[in-house]
Symmetry: C2
């Protein structure tokens, strides 16, 4: 797809140079807003305002929403007040909020000044909800119906008010206090055999809703679980205040998975894409964990130092340290990754901990036995027979293999339980992934190694 | 939510014991199918058929789709032919295909025998597409319109044929050869001011579509990028054959992210959730990488063995091996995780490789300098001043810190380039994550360590 964009960009820039604006416009209006934004983001900044002004009003607003915050800011800076007002009028409230959240304070003030009073009020309302809550990602533009409307009246209402709604396909039935009492889909309305049926007869009762303060991840999971187009958001008094639509849920799912992976990779999560992140951004997100883990690796060093005298008599043991540490780290990270993902998909609860540990213990025993058998064979075959390493005695091989089995066991128990405990304590379980687990397991595996060496070899 | 289910399950089982079927039914019909399935999956197997038969026909089918494959199989085994036919008639084709794919051969034969001829034909067609392709996850049940229909005729057609369609909200305009020429939404139709407008006048031209053989991940990304409810799927001759709806795209996104995380955690990906995976399942998915990585750690061992004589004179160096290896591993895994995610979100192409490497080199230099400065300070302060470890000379500290800076550099270059090269060669980039990178970086960091030791200390 990148190759495709390069060509489109080059074509557009050429047409722009040749001032063939009519042709430019004809090409742009056949394109999807997300694709236009993709092309615009790759263009030279100076070309942007001119090209943007070629777009018809609605397409311009739809494209604007899809662009990079940097390009959005550039455009807003160049907009006249009436141009800004025009774009704002075409935006859905949740998109306007997303833009406001990315802009510097002076641009935000200008946006709020130019937005019409109703939109300004709604933007301010949504901005009040905590970050990553259902309230902060919802839109207030949904279709509401009354229970005593007929099907015909409902369709009429949709026709009259639908143009500004983010979705018209699921309509929410509210009573006089704006309490959510049911929902009805346009499919139900269109396929209804009797036009005089009331909404109350047709609607689905007991609609599933989330509270304004629910976590956005929970909202996305609910939308995905129930296959809903939109999920209603209600306040503490059960009054309906907005909806979250599936496309926002998809973005949340993608962002949350990226965030989990970044944390699991030992980074603090970042909002920017890789290519948009500067070197300093990358540094800032990566250095904290590197420093922390480097310092905590000091303990591993101390354990080795404490054993230094004995180790100098049996240097052969040193050669197996990386293998034992890596196998332990890998075993632990397998368990932690599996558990972290299951937690974030809502498949596990803290109450499952004993069951999880028991499953991991049994898995660790089979993995440990297989690995240490393979390892024993490898040592005998490679180190003794092939490489004639005399210092690798059967006893040394035995110590290494027992350590390996025990390390796998310890690693899997630590790997599965730390994420669950972290979640219970209110931390992000993803923190308990590979880098962290590895550091702990490293120290533990060395303690086991030297303990067994002491018992069997010295 | 689990607590909630436990209560519901207990209540249902109690009511079942007391044979209060009417009450049971009243409770169940207020629930969402996904929630009923969640409760059913936790019930005793013997209770399942009876409870399932209490559900009204449509709710029964919707619940059936959401259940575990094991429970589905159990139910099908107990169904009479006419019961099976009834459930099948209520299913969408893509859901039927999902079920068929999970069932053993004899159950599949029975399902195909009981499905009506049209559905059987469509199931067989979808089954022919390669796994994870757009064709394999699409449904053939969409609304098609002709360009010369009026708005009124189109609405009439939707009313007449819509009941069996997976979505009616986006309708596809086909010419006489079933070539996709445009699309029109129900919103456009309902909000259209003139009922005599033709679909050709109203429709969006140049609809975005994917080929039947496109990867499901690409399909999910397109749906998410364009915020579409459904994406049309066309064959090699550009004829429309089906649609993929947003809810299936959400499942794909979730599955693909889970799969990436599993591979990045050093496991072969699994279809089963954690709690449904047996100990042997877990073993099978985890042991291959553990064995492979254990064996490849042999090289690290060999490097140490080759240096054994010199190491025995300078045992103090051993104490820093874990810290150097861990820091290298963590640095490399930060880069690889970032790049793997960017690749799977379509943000990077192979042509970006030089730019990526250059960015990683600069990041590595700043990270490396920061880390080695911190490390030098730590060694001087902790090891020399606090712990009075005489063998840790300034020269030793220098060797360790230079190694650290170089290891970070090497780790970041390896970590960012291997996933991109893997993708170019047609492998899954996620394989090039932490466990694999760690093993390579371990060996490289030891080579650097001993090389610098040789040059500066011996």
């Amino acid at each position: 797809m990148a190759e495709h964009h390069v060509t489109v960009e080059a074509t557009l820039e050429l047409l722009l140079e040749e001032k063939k604006y009519a042709t430019l416009r004809d090409i742009l209006i056949t394109m999807n807003p997300a694709d236009i934004a993709g092309v615009f983001d790759g263009l030279e900044e100076s070309a942007l305002p001119l090209l943007f002004r070629l777009l018809p009003k609605e397409l311009a607003a739809e494209t604007f929403v899809e662009m990079d915050p940097d390009a959005q800011e550039l455009l807003i800076q160049g907009f006249s007040d009436s141009e800004l007002r025009e774009v704002l009028n075409e935006l859905y409230v949740d998109d306007a909020v997303d833009i406001v959240e990315e802009m510097p304070a002076n641009v935000v003030r200008r946006i709020l000044r130019q937005a019409d009073p109703q939109m300004r009020k709604e933007i301010n309302e949504i901005l009040r909800y905590p970050e990553n809550s259902a309230g902060s990602i919802m839109t207030t533009e949904y279709v509401s119906l009354l229970p005593d409307m007929t099907v015909d009246e409902a369709i009429l209402r949709i026709r009259r008010t639908g143009v500004d709604k983010e979705t018209i396909y699921t309509c929410y039935v509210l009573d006089k206090n704006r309490t959510l009492i049911g929902l009805v889909t346009v499919k139900d309305l269109l396929l209804s055999q009797n036009e005089d049926n009331t909404i109350a007869e047709l609607m689905e009762d007991n609609p599933i809703a989330v509270n304004t303060h629910a976590d956005q991840e929970e909202v996305a999971q609910a939308l995905s679980k129930y296959n809903f187009l939109a999920l209603p958001v209600t306040d503490a008094e059960n009054r309906m205040v907005g909806i979250v639509t599936f496309d926002d849920a998809m973005d949340v799912m993608e962002d949350e998975a990226t965030e989990d992976m970044e944390i699991m990779g030992g980074m603090t999560p970042s909002d920017k894409t890789y290519l948009r992140s500067g070197v300093f951004d990358l540094f800032v997100h990566r250095i904290p964990w590197l420093l922390l883990l480097m310092v905590s690796a000091t303990f591993t060093g101390m354990i080795i130092t404490g054993f230094e005298n004995k180790l100098s008599r049996l240097v052969v043991l040193t050669a197996f340290i990386p293998m034992l540490m890596d196998t332990g780290g890998n075993s632990g990270s397998q368990s932690s990754v599996t558990i972290i993902r299951a937690l974030s998909l809502g498949e596990l609860e803290f109450s499952d901990l004993p069951r999880v540990i028991w499953k991991e213990i049994r898995t660790a025993v089979i993995c440990g036995l297989t690995l240490s058998t393979a390892c024993f064979g490898k040592i005998m075959l490679v180190d003794r027979l092939l490489m004639h390493n005399e210092s690798v005695s059967v006893m040394v091989a035995l110590v290494v293999c027992i350590t390996m089995a025990l390390t796998v066991l310890v690693a899997k128990i630590v790997g599965c339980s730390l994420p669950m405990i972290a979640k219970k304590l209110g931390f992000d379980p993803a923190v308990m992934a590979s880098p962290f687990i590895t550091t702990i397991v490293d120290a533990l595996s060395l303690l086991v190694y030297f303990g067994i060496t002491n018992a069997l070899l010295l």
